[in-house]
Amino acid sequence: MKKQQGTGNQKYRQNTWTKKLFIRHPYPDNYVDKKTFLSLKRVNVNARLYTYSEAVLYSGLLLQQLSAVVVFVFIYVYLRNNLVKIENLAYFVTIPTFILAYLSKLIAIKQTLIETKKDLGNVLKFVLFTYGLSPILNSLTESISSDTIYALVALMLIVNLIFYDYDSSEATIASKTFSFNAALFACVCLASRFENSSFHTFTLLILAFMIFALFPEYRRYIENHYPNSIGIVTFICFFICLTLMCSINICMSLHFDYTSDEKKNNSWSLG
């Protein structure tokens, strides 16, 4: 006689409810066991809660990049209005800053000689390449009006700020290459406004590389290794930005005057 299917083995019968599906128990199928139901539920296991001071301090990262962008634009404005001689900029600002930053890198990270040589080789390559290209870049935007250039520059720098990789996290829109490309585009547009001298173009390009490629890496290193110093770095960046801003009267620089002669000493203009 065929054994009736579905009665279940005597071995797998018990009177208490259990989570195993092969055990027969007298409870109905929709029985809810108060002790074990949802006992493994975990809520907010990976949630990261920020304190107020943490949030305020780390928002300084945004300000740092913003001030870098603004500093760059102001250097362009200074050059345009001949407030600073290009030789002073090149020899007394760019080169010392670079040397100081590189020395601080050598002190912080113990590098071998080979790596240092490689670094300096890269720098030399960049400098020579830019020097060679600057006569071409000089006259790139000769036929384009200032308005277009400035609008384009503003747009590109805003793109740089939006897509900049602030925290090296997995944010979807953060993309180092994209933001750097936008900034470089803006810089090339600005640098090519100096039709008369390719030395201006060259210096501005080198400055752009330093501000948009090397400076962010520098800041990121400091942020990762000395997280308590974010406030100080933010303050320094902002202070430099503020100093540059105070030397130019903002109201007057909004006065666009295309017919004004640039050599006139008392007319500041963006154009």
């Binding site: 299917q5 092969f22 493994l40």
Partner: protein
């Protein structure tokens, strides 16, 4: 004492997944329908068209299947337009005088839509959920909301394991956990019988039968194949199934020169699965998430030793004597597979035919059909307030 008049229900099974597609949900619907027909209920199946398979067809025991002329749009499901399916579904439900509509699978668009239409017609609804889902990413959030809409109008929900019940309860925001019943899947043990002499005598064969996708843990499999093959020279791998990760397995074969140790069968038809399973000694399942794994039951029914990752509903299926569970990491998998290999070498394992008998008693479709019938009896006696104002109130509670 006179036998109580058994209520005869007219049941309509709806899903996007049915024959000629083969899979877990499809065979679940078919087997359940057959057993319900045996219990003298009326069963009708509604699904979408497959290539040229269109119209009304009859399957075994007079199971009527409606292949509605809707083309599958994405992932074997139809395009979700709620109103275009209304005329034909209403027509079918009225013509067949359906009293209960049973939808299957959370991914099935047709099932959700039919539930809405059936509610309009005032029928009783049951919904079976076969899968586990996450909560975190965008697609999960949207699908869970849709599921919440569907489950709020269902009269009862059936889940295939206790883990699946907890998952569905949280996902779909169900208010009363007693609305969910746990009725596990089963396996047709008359097909999956052991045949101990087919497997090679002097070698140990590890069988893997699954789709080769990320979800099924193919990356873990790729991690353990070289290690096991290196440590045990008389162990072979037999892998059936295909998918996007198949190229990675072929890469491993080339890199470690395992052409004669690892056999890739590709996609095999369902009727060949049993013949493939009996060729092995150990069945390996490396899924990263699984509500209920029928493949494990099929393998155990064929008398194989089972090694599986301890995820989802898998710990609930088999007793510890028949299955070896491990954490979903390569190192733990290797340890447990070695343990299973040693057990086979020393002969310390349950006899294949005894395992088959135990599985036959533990899981069978007639039992599942009886429990489902209890659910149907329960909901057909329920008298829920179904006036328009109640429906509107319930709708607003969703948002």
């Amino acid at each position: 004492m006179p036998k109580k008049d058994k209520k005869r229900h007219s049941i309509c099974m709806v899903s996007d997944f049915f024959y000629p597609n083969m899979g877990g949900v499809e065979s679940h619907i078919f087997q359940l329908s057959q057993c319900l027909l045996e219990l003298s209920h009326k069963v009708v199946v509604i699904t979408h068209m497959y290539n040229n398979r269109n119209g009304v067809r009859y399957m075994t025991n007079g199971l009527k299947v409606y292949y509605i002329p809707l083309v599958p749009f994405y992932n074997q499901c139809v395009l979700p337009t709620v109103l275009t399916t209304l005329p034909i579904i209403r027509d079918i439900l009225i013509r067949e005088q359906i009293t209960i509509v049973h939808g299957h699978s959370a991914f099935s668009v047709l099932a959700e839509e039919t539930l809405y239409h059936a509610k309009l017609l005032g029928l009783k609804l049951v919904y079976t959920d076969h899968s586990l889902f996450g909560f975190a990413d965008a697609s999960s959030i949207l699908t869970n909301k849709l599921l919440e809409c569907g489950m709020s109008i269902s009269d009862h929900v059936i889940c295939v394991s206790n883990t699946c019940r907890e998952n569905t309860f949280l996902r779909a925001n169900i208010k009363d956990p007693r609305k969910i019943s746990v009725i596990p899947n089963a396996v047709d043990s008359s097909i999956f019988t052991p045949e101990p002499n087919t497997a090679p005598f002097n070698r140990i064969v590890i069988v893997v039968v699954s789709r080769l996708v990320y979800r099924k843990g193919t990356d873990l499999l790729i991690g353990i194949i070289p290690e096991i093959c290196k440590k045990y020279p008389n162990v072979d791998f037999l892998i059936a199934g295909s998918g996007p990760k198949m190229v990675l397995i072929e890469e491993i074969k080339d890199r470690y020169k395992l052409h004669d140790r690892v056999t890739l069968l590709g996609s095999i038809p369902n009727q060949e699965v049993r013949n493939c399973l009996v060729k092995g000694h150990i069945f390996l399942n490396t899924s990263l998430t699984e509500a209920f794994c029928i493949a494990i039951l099929e393998a155990a029914s064929c008398g194989l030793q089972v090694v599986s990752t301890k995820v989802g509903g898998i710990p609930e299926i088999l007793p510890n004597s028949m299955i070896t569970l491990c954490e979903p990491s390569v190192s733990d998998l290797i340890t447990k597979v070695e343990f299973a290999i040693k057990r086979i070498k020393t002969g310390d394992k349950i006899d294949s035919f005894m395992m088959h008998e135990e599985i036959r008693k533990m899981y069978n479709w007639r039992d599942v059909a009886k429990r489902t019938e209890k659910v149907y009896n329960l909901i057909s006696e329920m008298n829920e307030k179904n006036s328009l104002i109640d429906k509107i109130i319930r709708y607003f509670k969703l948002f």
